[in-house]
Structure formats: C-alpha cells, structure tokens
C-alpha cells in the first residue's frame, strides 16, 4: 500500500513540476505568439487609468478573502472535528491554498474569464498571458487588445503595458477572483472530514475547480450563458453578486454528494463526536465575518458606494444570522450556544452573499435571519431525518443558504442599490415589481444539477482509480498521524 501511494504521489508531483516548468518557461514565447495573432483591425490599445482607491480596496479584499480560508475556515472547521484529525483539516485548507492558486494562474482564470463565449472561457489568459504586464515595442502596440494602462519610460520608445479590468489592473481582478477559487473547494472539505484520503482530496479538488467552478463562474460572471441581461442568456440570466450560486450552491450540493458517496465516519451515530475545540471554531467564525467584508464588499470591484452597501448587507446578514440561530436554540432548547451563534453568522453570511450588491442594507437583517433559520432547520431536523454524514454541515449551511439567498435576490433586489449599468433602471425584485426571480430560480436549478452531476462522476472515477477513503485502521488512528505523520497538540 505504502509504496503504491508513494509512487502515485511521486507521479502526480513530477507531472505537475514538469508541466509547469515547461509552460512557465514557454510563457514569454507564447505571449509573443498570442500577440501576433491579434486582429489587426484594432488600431490602438484602449487606455484607461488605474484608480488607486479601487485598487487598494480590491487588493485589501483579496487579502481578506485569502484570510477566510487560512486561518478562518481552517480554524472554523478544525475545531469541529475530533482532536486526532485536527491537523488533517488544517492541511486540507492550507494545501488547497497552494494548489488552487497555481491551478488558477495556469488554467483556471482563463477558463473562467477568457472571452465571453456562452459555455466556457477561451485560452487568452493561459498562464497569465494578457493578465500580467508586458513590455511592448511601439510597432506592436497596435496589436494590444482590451483595456490597458500604459507606463512610459523616459527616453525609451517601448512601453510597459498593464492589462486592465475596469479601473483596476487585470492582475488585481485575477487575484481577487483567485481567492474565491481557493475557498470554494475548501468549503467542501467539511463534508468528508475525518475520513477522506489526502491524495484523493487533492486530485478531486483540482478537477472540481476546473470542471465545476470555472464553468459556473464563467456562465454567471464571465460573460457566459447566465449573464444578467446578456443576449441569449438562459431565463434572462441571473444576479449573483458575490457567489450565492457560484460559491455556496456549488460547494454545498457537491458536499452533499461527497458525504453520500464517501459514506459515514466509523461510529457515526453511535459514538459521540463532539467538537474538540469550540474556541477555534469561534475564532474562525469571527475571522470569516471579517474576511467576508472583502468577499462581498470587494465584489463591487471598486471602492464605490456599491462596495459600502454590499459591506453593510454583509454585516447585518451575519448579525441577524447569529441572533436567529442562537435564538431558535434559546427558544427550543433553553440555551443559546456558541456553535449556534457561529453557525448562524456563517449561514447569514453565506445567505446574503448573492444579494449584497442588490438589496438594501436594512433588508440584510431579514435575509440573514431567514437564511439562518432555514439552515437551522436543515442541520437539526432534515439532516437527522435522512441520516447522511455531512460532517461539518456544508450542505446544511452553504447549500441551503446559497439556495435561499439566490431566491431572495428575486424578492429584495432593488435599483436603489444595484449598479444602474446592470439594472438599467428597471425594477428587479418582486417587492419593487420586478420579475428577475425566474432567472434566479433557473440558476439555482442549473447550478445544483450541474454541480451534482460533475461531482458524482468525478468521485466515481477517483474511487475506482485510487480510492477515496483511508483504511479503517487509519481512520481510527486519526488522519493527523496516518496521513501526515504529525500530532496536533503535545500539551503534557
């Protein structure tokens, strides 16, 4: 077993190294080619300025969103498992920060944001070409495509070309979006905590990112077939400000499939499996709240009034979620718990995510409370009824509130908040007489079915190839030692 695994690891690793080195070293060449291939009809690059305030905010937001995965989610999740698996959960988060970042740079970003084809991005941004800076001779300048910022150099004709996305460098856009590509798969880890093989997890997530996340992201944000008001968009397209469908539905329903296919933890249902360190979970939840300001506020892609409004919806959604969940516990069980407040705030946050740029901050309170209440029901009643082991309630929290939140966009969205370039000044949500709710419901369905299907197929294939689960002995021993050879705490 050991040597087999070792060889496998070796194989993957070498593959990665070789491919990457090849690509990276070729990238300059590719860049030149790519440029030569540009359409001559475009006369001169379209110059735009960088807004330093916008750039400052989106860079800050990018840092905040990375912080959500590590240490935020890592703490939130690792506190909930048993002590013997604490490191395995942290490792999943931290290693995914590494792997998904590289996959994004190499292939993910271009699949999600390259061109505006309906189904999937093109390869224009492969290996960050056309994203990172270029040094361009005057003769080739006319071939530079898209919005750019030009930095001239005294006494030299050639010019530094900075590809732009709105008022910020495209690199900033790529970074910010890349942080979503990390946290979304990391969320899924909660479903199969304490039993999935690390190697299978890594492979699954790489593929899931490219085959589930990138298409969804392209459809909804990258100019694809669900773009709101886009020509030929399905059901008129959808409003999903910061990832109700792209992030939470996709990860939530995939998590459910994982939980079902990978099976329950040994002893689930018979043995107690209480959180080993609720203080970590609480710290993690607080960090998620803070980081989510970047997640949602940054999704305005500028430091404008929309960012402020999205920030406010986020804040009130989290607040109301915490009160609602802990409140239900207080009423139904007599005691509000820390885990309740933390689960509720995360549910509130996940729930408002889709809505943040479209609804009034004061409505954030209602939306957050509704989402958290739905999740409370899902995690306490529904889950117990069906008996699946979605260990850290990824579906119960993210899946459910993603669905509820996406739906509520159709109710509460208002042109008083929404970017007029998006709303076109037309009424949006039911409350102001709009009818975007059909597009919202269609998107919920599409995102769910698509994620379920691809996840199912991926897991089946990986199960056949390398197996998804550690051995029974390893599971009893704990993944910290069996998968990583370490111990979490040596406090004696």
């Amino acid at each position: 077993m050991k040597p087999r695994r070792r060889i496998l690891g070796l194989g993957i690793f070498l593959l990665l190294v070789v491919t990457l080195s090849g690509w990276v070293l070729n990238s300059s060449a590719v860049a030149a080619d790519a440029m030569a291939a540009f359409d001559d009809s475009i006369a001169a690059p379209h110059e735009v300025d960088i807004d330093t305030g916008d750039n400052a905010w989106i860079l800050t937001s990018s840092a905040l969103v990375l912080m959500m995965t590590g240490p935020g989610l890592a703490l939130f999740y690792c506190g909930l498992v048993r002590k013997k698996n604490v490191l395995s959960v942290m490792m999943q988060c931290i290693f995914l920060m590494g792997v998904m970042a590289v996959v994004w740079a190499v292939l993910g970003y271009t699949l999600a944001f390259g061109g505006e084809e309906p189904w999937i991005g093109n390869l224009d941004y492969l290996l960050l070409n056309g994203v990172q800076g270029q040094w361009v001779e005057p003769s080739q300048l006319s071939q530079v495509q898209g919005d750019v910022h030009l930095i001239h150099c005294r006494g030299v004709d050639a010019v530094q070309v900075v590809p732009m996305a709105g008022s910020i460098p495209r690199l900033t856009h790529m970074l910010f979006q890349g942080m979503f590509f990390i946290i979304t798969p990391a969320l899924i880890c909660g479903a199969f905590a304490e039993r999935m093989k690390f190697s299978a997890m890594v492979l699954f997530m790489m593929l899931w990112g490219l085959l589930v996340y990138c298409p969804l992201c392209h459809w909804i944000w990258g100019g694809g077939c669900l773009t709101f008001g886009g020509e030929g968009a399905i059901a008129g397209g959808t409003l999903d400000f910061a990832g109700g469908a792209v992030v939470h539905i996709s990860s939530g329903v995939s998590a459910l499939i994982c939980a079902l296919l990978i099976g329950k933890r040994l002893g689930f249902g018979s043995e107690p499996m209480p959180p080993h360190n609720m203080t970590y979970t609480a710290i993690g939840a607080a960090l998620l709240w803070v980081g989510w300001f970047g997640f949602n506020g940054g999704s305005a892609l500028a430091a404008n009034s929309l960012a402020a409004s999205a920030f406010a919806v986020t804040h009130f959604g989290a607040a109301a979620g915490a009160i609602a969940w802990a409140g239900w516990e207080w009423i139904l069980r007599g005691k509000p718990s820390v885990l309740g407040a933390c689960s509720g705030l995360v549910a509130g946050l996940a729930g408002v995510t889709a809505t943040t740029g479209y609804v009034q901050p004061i409505h954030g309170i209602l939306i957050g409370a509704l989402c958290a209440s739905a999740c409370y029901y899902a995690c306490t009643v529904v889950k117990n009824k069906f008996g699946y082991d979605d260990s850290l309630d990824v579906f119960g929290v993210h899946g459910v509130s993603g669905i509820v939140g996406m739906t509520l966009v159709g109710v509460f969205a208002t042109r008083a908040v929404t970017d007029p370039a998006v709303s076109g000044g037309q009424p949006l949500g039911l409350i102001e007489g709009g009818s975007i709710i059909t597009g919202q419901l269609a998107t919920v369905a599409i995102a769910s079915v698509f994620s379920i299907a691809v996840t199912f197929v991926l897991l089946r294939i990986l199960d056949t190839l390398i197996g998804l689960r550690v051995s029974e002995k390893e599971e009893i021993e704990g993944l910290d030692f069996s998968e990583h050879g370490e111990e979490g705490y040596i406090l004696l």
Partner: protein, 112 residues
C-alpha cells in the same frame, strides 16, 4: 503504610489540600480523572447532534500515610470533600508494601 485514593470534586481540591496540610500531611499526588457513577453526566448538543457526556471530571488524590494516621486522614478528607450531593466521590484504601524516597533512598514511613 496505607495508600489512600480519594476521588473528589474538582472544586474541592483546595479545601482538601488545606485540610490535609493542617493535619500535618506533607505530601500528596493529584491526577485529573473522569468518573462514571450515580451522578449522571449531562447532555450536550452540537447543531443537530445530541451527545451524552457520561463521564464527569473528577480529581484523584493519592496520599500515602503511616498506618496510625489513617483514620484521621480519612476523616479529614470526608469532611472537607463532602457537599452532601450525589457525586461527592469515594475513598479507597489499600496496603502498601514499601515506599522509597528517591532523593535519599530512605525507606518506609521515613520516606513520606
């Protein structure tokens, strides 16, 4: 010599220690344990999962005393550890064949 093992409540440790010290006991050894008994544990609830904690945190005090002080020490412990509610704990007494002070090699009651 007798070895006394007393399982007591956590928050009674200070009291028992002080009472024993007053009785001239010069040494004891304390261990964190978890007890199962008539005093039922409690139910914790984490999201949907209810979970029964059967084991209650307790303190085990071990004191070795010369035969003649056994009764005094027992009485002292009983008095200082009692609250009168279920879960106050037990005292177990057993014989000791030998005791040694590592530092000096002294044996028997001298070693205590």
């Amino acid at each position: 010599m007798k070895k006394i093992e007393a399982i007591i409540r956590h928050f009674k440790l200070e009291d028992v220690k002080n009472a024993l010290t007053e009785q001239g006991v010069q040494g004891m050894t304390v261990t964190e344990v978890r007890g199962f008994g008539r005093q039922k544990g409690h139910t914790e609830m984490y999201r949907g999962a209810e979970y029964q904690v059967d084991f209650v945190p307790k303190i085990k005090i071990e004191v070795v005393v010369p035969e003649q002080r056994l009764q005094t020490v027992l009485d002292t412990i009983i008095q200082s550890a009692r609250t009168g509610e279920v879960g106050d704990g037990k005292i177990f007494v057993s014989d000791l064949a030998q005791s040694v002070r590592i530092r000096t090699g002294e044996l028997g009651p001298e070693a205590l």
